[in-house]
Symmetry: C2
Subunit: 330 residues, 2 copies
């Protein structure tokens, strides 16, 4: 699309008129996949989830529509989901076996393949922003545990007290999980849910970005790392191919290197985004027992939201088109 | 190759004669890459490295020659390298900023794509065996920090006191690194080395396996995770394609998802192992500034040992052929 852009040079206040080829932006988010059935959902709960997804979309879209960067848009969308207790990330993170909240996140910039990730961080309000700080303010890509905590202090990340993360329903889930002595992938009312949030976007400059954030598994033993903080498995972005954010049973997503697999099927085998997603989510993952889904967006702005579970909280929007919000399979 | 195998059934002591198609086994190992120059090496040091590599090869080959599994062979070879203070893994792990030893390792079975990994573990004699235990004795793939430590205690992993890991040269490296206030990728005598050990193998049953283990970076800040424990980046194995173990500047290997990239180039683009290694190590990694190398072995038993640094401690052997040991580029 040909657009006119008026740029003001702050140094001499002169105004330039540019003619630029700008792409249509697109944004997609997810709030986790799993056994999300219409039959076990109340109208009130459904409304709350849809509102939360819409809020996150608005946060990201608001930046993209003004020509903002995809990195900023996905961070804003994920922060919105992290700040909402409905999702298993940030404020709504599930309880570990020790009654703590251990969170993981990762982010990747498709323009330069820069990436950042954190695993096992506690009391961080927005793990996605900490992952971005690892990318931008450290010489590392991946930081874990106490070291990541110390880094967070050094860069003045926003910390919150334990009670900020206390959600009664999550606490009840922990008690139930402990009673059964099993680890639960963020379940509600006997549902099995893979609680993760994520976003992918392409901005008007044609740059892709992806990010993912999670509170892990209820009653999980201290130290388990899933696919969320792993570049290539839970998150991947490359302007040449696509941006991917996953949600599902992390162990299978790690073994299948899911996010990069989709990128490789596009780059090396010449598949469409849709075909690549179908193969990885509906065939390869199913064969090894890997339940879950992902959101995907390619360099042409195509969006795919595949999942092999009963449902996935998801939303997407292409510039000039209507907002889509989905929860169930049908 | 057609071989006669005599199997004794322990239950009824009867003896069977089997005719089986058995493949030729092959094994390759590395002990890290970096600025390893002939000019800065003494004959004595060179001998010590070659002996250490040979010992590790013998440990792995001894199992493969008897029809043992590639998983067992790579674990044995890596344990031998971990037990040798010359290499930055296990006993020879470098000091962190806090004067500790934080080690990472991962292992993958090409037959069933099962995998295990640990990050940031302390006082573990053989991190590679702990990674294998995560794979075989937990429901997880990846465990980090104190949680991985607790898991190690639960499965009775071998712990060693701090002084087992004390190597004077490593301690001197830390003091020098602290003086310069920089993190050093395992350097010796002004050399820059990416200290990691790893092994890849194919056994007579045609099964591939790969494993990697490291002590990280001298003076590294607590919590940095490199590519070594990341399935897809530092380690990957798949009977359909290849087995890979990497050594290099981990941040670049993470961003490039190096190990799985080679597998995808073979599977999706139909490239040979050699061509795939050339593209990833000598072109893609070089372009983003990622120094290092890897060892690779495909399902046909081909071996590649590419590196873009000055040298890489490496050894390989195909059944019926001579042992190869290399250090420098030429």
């Amino acid at each position: 699309m040909l657009r006119f852009i008026v740029l003001t040079n702050p140094l001499n206040t002169s105004t330039f008129l540019y003619l630029c080829y700008m792409r249509k932006f697109a944004l997609a988010i997810h709030g986790g996949a799993g056994t999300i059935l219409r039959s076990s959902m109340t109208a009130e709960k459904e409304m709350a989830y849809k509102k939360a997804l819409e809020d996150a979309m608005i946060a990201g879209e608001g930046l993209l529509v003004k020509g903002g960067r995809s990195m900023d848009a996905i961070e804003a969308a994920i922060r919105s989901l992290e700040n909402n207790p409905l999702f298993n990330a940030g404020k709504g993170a599930v309880f570990t076996n020790e009654g703590k909240h251990e969170m993981d996140a990762s982010i990747m910039n498709g323009k330069d393949l820069m990436a950042g990730a954190v695993a096992g961080v506690q009391n961080i309000k927005n793990p996605i922003s900490l992952a971005r700080a690892v990318m931008e303010k450290s010489e590392h890509v991946f930081m874990a545990g106490l070291g990541a905590q110390e880094f967070a202090k050094k860069i003045n990340a926003e910390f919150m007290p334990d009670d900020y993360f206390f959600v009664q329903q999550r606490y009840d889930q922990l008690q139930e999980a402990k009673k059964e002595d099993k680890m639960i992938l963020d379940h509600t009312d006997k549902e099995k849910k893979f609680g993760t949030v994520g976003a992918v976007a392409i901005d008007q400059h044609g740059n892709l970005a992806a990010g993912t954030s999670t509170g892990g598994m209820t009653n999980k033993k201290h130290g388990r790392v899933g696919d969320t903080p792993v570049i290539g498995s839970g998150t991947y972005a490359n302007n040449k191919t696509c941006a991917i954010s996953c949600t599902g049973h992390g162990e299978f997503f790690l073994r299948a290197v899911v996010a990069y697999d989709i990128s490789c099927l596009i780059e090396y085998k010449g598949l469409s985004l849709k075909k690549a997603c179908d193969i990885v989510v509906m065939d390869k993952l199913v064969k090894i027992g890997g339940e879950g889904g992902l959101i995907a967006l390619d360099a042409k702005g195509n969006i795919e939201l595949p999942f092999n579970s009963e449902g996935m909280y998801r939303a997407s929007k292409k510039e000039g088109e209507d907002l889509f919000i989905g929860i169930y399979k049908d």
